[in-house]
Amino acid sequence: MSGSGEGGAREEILARMRRALSDAGEAPEAPREYRRALDPQTDVVAMLIDRLLDYKANVHHGVEAIAEALDGEARVVVPADLPREWRIGGAEFIPDGPFATDAYLSTEDLDGMDAVLTGCAAAVAVSGTIMLDAGAAQGRRAITLVPDRHVVVLKREQIVGHLAEALPRLDPRAPQTWISGPSATSDIELQRVEGVHGPRRLDVVLLED
Amino acid sequence: MKRVGLFITCVNDALYPETPKAVVQILERLGYEVDFPAAQTCCGQMHANSGYQEDARTLARSFEEVFGGYDAVVTPSGSCAAMVRDQYPHLTGSGLGARVHELSEFLLDVAGVEDVGARFPHRVTYHPTCHGTRALGLGDKPVRLLRAVRDIELVELPAADQCCGFGGTFALKNSEVSSAMLADKCRNAAATGAEYLAAADNSCLTHIGGGLTRAGGPRPVHYAEILASAA
C-alpha cells in the first residue's frame, strides 16, 4: 500500500530529482578494495571472546554452561523452537512463539521475565557482534529486548571473522538485531556506561563443536 | 635540471625577506641556480578562499605566465603550494601544480637531500601548519630536515595538529573564535620551553607570533631560516 498520492508529492519529488540530475551523467563504479575477510591465520574465536569481554559481556563454554550463564534466574523466556537440550538448569522455561500451543506472551508477561535464552544467526569476531535474524531458536525481537538478561547460545560454525562474511548468512528481509555487548550509552561526557534500556547483562555460551 | 624558479609569496615579499633569502642560500649551496622572476605577486589564495573566484583566476593566470616556463618552482609556503596544486586545476585547468614544490618536498623528493649541513644550537618546537600538512600532505618532511640539523634540540608541541586559528580572513571575520584558538596554540608553544617555534608558513607564523609577542613564548621562525644557518 502506498500513501504517496498526497497532492502529487511523489511525482514532484521525483521530478525535482531528475531535474537536478539532468546533466549529472553516471557515477563511476564504486571501488571495493577493502577487506572482506580477516587474515586466514586469525583465531576468530579468541578474537570474538576478547571483544565480548571488552564490551563487558560474559563468556561461557559448553552446553552445560547454559545453567551457569542463567545464574539462578527463575523465569526464562525462550523461543518456542529453542532446542530442548539447551533448556537446562533450575529455571522455569517459558516458551514464546507461534508453534504448537505456544502463544506470544503479553508485554506485561515479558516484563516479568528474569532472562531470555536464545540462539543466533551469526557472530562477527572483529567487532564482537552477535546477529539475530528471527531465524531458528531466536524468536521475535521483543523477547530479547524486554528481559534484563540475555543469554545467547553461539555455535562455532556461526562465528565469522569479518562483517562482510556475516551479511550473506542473514535473511536480509527478516527483522534483524545486531548486538555488540549489553546496552550502553556514551551520552554523559562521552564515557561509556553499560546498562540502559536493553538487557543490561549479556551472556554468550560458546559451543565449540 | 639545476635551475629553479623561486616563488617567495606575497607575505614574504611584504614582510619577511629573511625567509626567501634562506631558501636561496640553501638551494645555491646544493648547487641549484635560483631564478627570481620579478613580475611575481600572489598565488591568489586569499581571493580564492574568501569566495572571490574570478579575482583568484586572474591572479592564477598571472602566476602561470610568470612561472610557466620553469621545470621546477620552489616556495617556502605549504599553503601557497597547495593553492597552486589543488585549486588551479579547477580555476584555470592548469597542471603547473605538479612542478611547484614546497621547500621540504623539493629538498627531500627532488634534490634527495635530508641533511642540508646546517647547525642551530637552540631548543625548537615545530607547528605543522594545516594546509601544508593536510592539503599538501607534507607529513613530517620539514621535521625530518630539522632533525638533521646539528645541535638542534627539537621538542614536541602539545596538540601540534590543532589549527592556530589563522585561516586567512577567518582571523578577521571570526576574530573571537580565531583568538581562542590562538590562545591555546600560544599556551602550548610556551609550555615547550622552546626558544623558537618553527613552521612552514609565514602567514601562520604571523598569527602565532602576533600572539606570542603578547603572551610570551618562543620566537616564530620559518624552518628555512634554521636550515640556512651555517654550520
Binding site: 530529482m17 508485554t107 536480509p172 538485531t177 549489553p182 | 569566495g51
Partner: protein
C-alpha cells in the same frame, strides 16, 4: 566503564542543585555566527565540557579507525557508493518504495517538513494515540516535529538519553550524535533532579546512576506506547529495509514494542544494496562513538506477523535535499551519514559548541549543509571555518568539506567594503609594477613603528586583528632589493 563498577570516585554532588539554565537560552539561535560564537566563548563551563568530550571522542575514533588497515579503501568505497546513490536517486527511491510496500509498509513522500509533519500527525491520530515515543532522529529535529506535535495537542517523548536531557532542560541539541555534549554530569544530575518528576531521591552524578534513572523514567512509557517515531541511518533500496544504529536499546524499544511505527527518512539515506552495509557499518560506529560496533543495530523490512509493529510507515523526506542535489560540488554534502566525526575534530566547534551555528546540523557538516538546505539563511556559516581540513581528514565518506566551504563562499553575498578591499588587492596584485609600488609605500608608511617592530593597536576593522595579535611591520630592506644587489 562506570565509576561505580570500578569502585572509585564516590560521586561528589548530592549537593543542592543549582537551577538549570539551558545553554540555548543564552546563545541566540538567529544571531550571526560570530556573535553567537562570542557568547559561547564566554561560557567557561560550556567550553570545558566541550573540550573534554570532544577530546575523549577524538582519541577513541583515532584508535579504532587506526585498527583497520583498509580504512582508506573503506572511505573510498563509501564515497563512491554515496556518489552513485546521488546519481541514481530517482531509480533507487522507487526501488526502495516498491520493496517496502511489498513487505507491508506504507510509503509516503513529503516535499518539505510541514508535509512530513502533517502526515505523521494524521497517522498518530488514526492509531488513536495522543503521544509517541521517539528514537533520536536528525530528520525529525530538522522538521521540528516535536514542536508541531505539541501545537497539535500531541506529545513526543524523546528516549535517547542525551535527547531526554535536552528535552527536560528545554534546551536545543548542540551535537549531532551527543546532543547534550555541552552538559557535564553534575549539570545533568541537576536537570534530572529538577525536571524529571520521578528522579530517584539522592540521585548522584555517577553516569551509571543517571542512566539508571533514565531507564526507570522511560520503562513504562516504552512498554505502553502505541506509536513510535524514528528516523533511519540507512534505507536499502534492494530490500526495502530501514536500518537504525543505536546504543541504549531505546531504539529497539521504539522499533519493536508499539503497534505503529513512523520512520521519517531523508531521501539521501538510500543505499543500493544490503551488502553495502559491510562498508558503512564498519565506518559509522568507528567514526561516531569510536566503537568497533555500536551496541545495537536494528534492520526491518515492512512489517512481519507477530514480530514488532504491524502498521509500518515510511515518510521519504525531501525538504531541500533535491535543491542540494542540483549543485555538483555541493551535493556531496548529501553523502553525510551523521557520524559527527567532523564536529569532534573541528577547532571551531570545539570552542563554540553547536548552538552558535543556529541550525540542527552544526559544525563543519552543518556549515555546508545548513546554507544549502535553507538558501539565503546561514550565509555566514561557510566562513565559520579556518579551512584547516581536519574535518575532511576524518570524514568516513570523504566529503571534501573545505572544498564545499570555499565553493559556497563564492556564492556570496559579500559585504560592500570587503568587495572593495578584495577588488583593490586584486587590481594591485595583477600588476607587478603596482604591486612593487604598494610594497614600497607600505614600507614607508610603517616607518613610525619600525623601531618597535610591530603594531599593537589598529582602528576598526584592523582592530579585529589587533584584538589578540600584534601586527608585524614591513622590513627596512625587502627581498627584492637584496636580490637586485646580489645580481650586480
Amino acid at each position: 566503564m562506570s565509576a561505580r563498577k570500578r569502585g572509585t570516585a564516590v560521586p561528589t554532588s548530592a549537593a543542592p542543585a543549582s537551577a538549570v539554565v539551558p545553554a540555548a537560552s543564552l546563545i541566540p539561535a538567529d544571531a550571526p555566527f560570530p556573535k553567537a560564537a562570542k557568547v559561547a566563548l564566554g561560557m567557561p563551563q560550556l567550553r570545558k565540557n566541550l573540550a573534554h568530550a570532544t577530546g575523549t571522542i577524538r582519541a577513541k575514533r583515532a584508535k579504532v579507525a587506526g585498527e583497520l588497515d583498509d580504512w582508506e579503501h573503506l572511505r573510498d568505497s563509501a564515497a563512491a557508493i554515496k556518489a552513485d546513490v546521488q546519481h541514481r536517486l530517482p531509480e533507487l527511491a522507487i526501488e526502495f518504495e516498491r520493496n517496502a510496500i511489498a513487505a507491508g509498509a506504507t510509503v509516503h513522500w513529503a516535499r518539505d517538513g510541514a508535509e512530513a509533519n502533517r502526515i505523521a500527525v494524521r497517522i498518530v491520530r488514526e492509531a488513536g494515540a495522543e503521544e509517541v515515543v521517539k528514537v533520536k532522529s536528525m530528520a525529525t529535529q530538522e522538521i521540528e516535529l516535536n514542536e508541531y506535535f505539541e501545537a497539535q495537542g500531541l506529545r513526543a517523548f524523546e528516549t535517547d538519553l542525551a535527547e531526554l536531557i535536552v528535552q527536560l532542560a528545554e534546551d536545543r541539541p548542540s551535537h549531532i550524535l551527543v546532543p547534550a555534549i555541552h552538559y557535564n554530569r553534575t549539570e545533568i544530575r541537576d536537570i534530572f533532579d529538577q525536571r524529571m518528576g520521578d528522579a530517584p531521591a539522592g540521585l548522584t552524578d555517577d553516569p551509571a546512576a543517571l542512566a539508571e534513572a533514565a531507564r526507570l523514567h522511560l520503562r513504562r512509557r516504552f512498554l505502553s506506547a502505541k506509536v513510535a517515531v524514528s528516523g533511519a541511518n540507512f534505507a536499502v533500496a534492494e530490500t526495502g529495509s530501514l536500518v537504525v544504529v543505536e546504543s541504549e536499546g531505546n531504539g529497539r524499544m521504539c522499533l519493536t514494542m508499539p503497534e505503529t511505527l513512523i520512520s521519517i527518512v531523508g531521501i539521501e539515506k538510500l543505499l543500493p544494496r544490503f551488502e553495502d552495509l559491510e562498508v558503512f557499518m564498519q565506518l559509522l560506529p568507528r567514526s561516531s562513538t569510536g566503537e568497533r560496533m555500536n551496541p545495537y543495530t536494528s534492520v526491518w523490512t515492512g512489517s512481519r506477523e507477530g514480530d514488532g509493529p504491524r502498521d509500518v510507515h515510511v515518510i521519504l523526506l525531501d525538504n531541500g535535499r533535491t535543491r542540494v542535489l542540483e549543485d555538483e560540488v555541493g551535493r556531496q554534502a548529501l553523502s553525510c551519514i551523521r557520524c559527527s566525526a567532523c564536529l569532534n575534530v573541528c577547532p571551531v566547534y570545539e570552542r563554540t559548541g553547536g548552538h552558535a551555528y543556529g541550525h540542527v546540523y552544526p559544525g563543519p557538516i552543518g556549515a555546508i549543509l545548513a546554507p544549502q538546505l535553507e538558501p539565503g539563511r546561514h550565509d555566514d556559516l561557510p566562513y565559520a571555518s579556518s579551512l584547516c581540513g581536519a574535518c575532511y581528514e576524518v570524514c568516513p565518506v570523504k566529503i571534501d568539506i573545505p572544498e564545499v566551504l570555499v565553493h559556497l563562499r563564492q556564492q556570496g553575498p559579500h559585504a560592500a567594503g570587503e568587495q572593495a578591499a578584495m577588488g583593490a588587492a586584486k587590481a594591485v596584485m595583477a600588476r607587478p609594477r603596482l604591486w612593487r609600488t604598494a610594497l614600497r609605500a607600505a614600507r614607508l608608511g610603517s616607518l613610525p613603528w619600525r623601531r618597535k617592530g610591530f603594531v599593537r593597536r589598529l582602528p576598526w576593522p584592523g582592530s579585529r586583528w589587533t584584538v589578540s595579535r600584534d601586527l608585524p611591520v614591513p622590513p627596512k630592506e625587502d627581498f627584492r632589493s637584496w636580490w637586485k644587489e646580489r645580481q650586480r
